[in-house]
Symmetry: C2
Subunit: 109 residues, 2 copies
Amino acid sequence: MVRKRLDEDIIKEMKSQEVIDKLARTFSVFGDQTRIRIILALTKEELCVAELSILLGMSHSAISHQMRALKDLDLVRCRKEGRRAYYSLNDIHIENLFKEGLKHVLEKI
Amino acid sequence: MVRKRLDEDIIKEMKSQEVIDKLARTFSVFGDQTRIRIILALTKEELCVAELSILLGMSHSAISHQMRALKDLDLVRCRKEGRRAYYSLNDIHIENLFKEGLKHVLEKI
DNA sequence: CTAATATGTGAACAAACGTTCACATATGGT
DNA sequence: ACCATATGTGAACGTTTGTTCACATATTAG
């Protein structure tokens, strides 16, 4: 009984540890000017790597690396069309999260 | 006329650059397990450095450094009481931002 | 006053990060 | 088949970041 209770506590602890970790990694991905600009662009329309590359004035390689980071944390989804890879924001939470951040920032400037 | 128009555009551009920068720095501050745990603790109650230090099992120095980072970006406010420094979340946006992040993370686990 | 306690801070170090470079893969057109 | 185009990826490099350490400051107790 006590044993089971302890196990549950450990699992709960580990789960919240997992949540804290993913939360930190998610916010961390937002914590970069390049990725903010990518997300900002994607709030308006779906874009491919080449378009983002021109829009931000960066190499396709740099963009591609960043897109992977965004994809790994489910912040964007990818739709392949021929040789293009079109990216868009994954869910409504991403935009809400972004806007909530903006609210705070704009209030204090 | 054209000159003025250009100036306005530059100012607008710089402003949005400033916004993007602060947005990135704000999210970046959230992007760390230690600070997530600090913020999580502060959603429940106002706490001083020593209390946070015990709660997270970290040195007071480490906590103090982190509190400065959080304070610099207006995420927490500080109330001095004797030799104690009590910290609390600064505004409702912080909690909303945090919760919006949680929503996304919990959805994908 | 002195000693003890609570917090703040600069320097230093290792770890994590973002970009570039070179190259790999994959698709489309001819 | 070929070559051009679009994207992906590993290694390397310089930069940034978080913690520790040593010490500074500030407040309270005696």
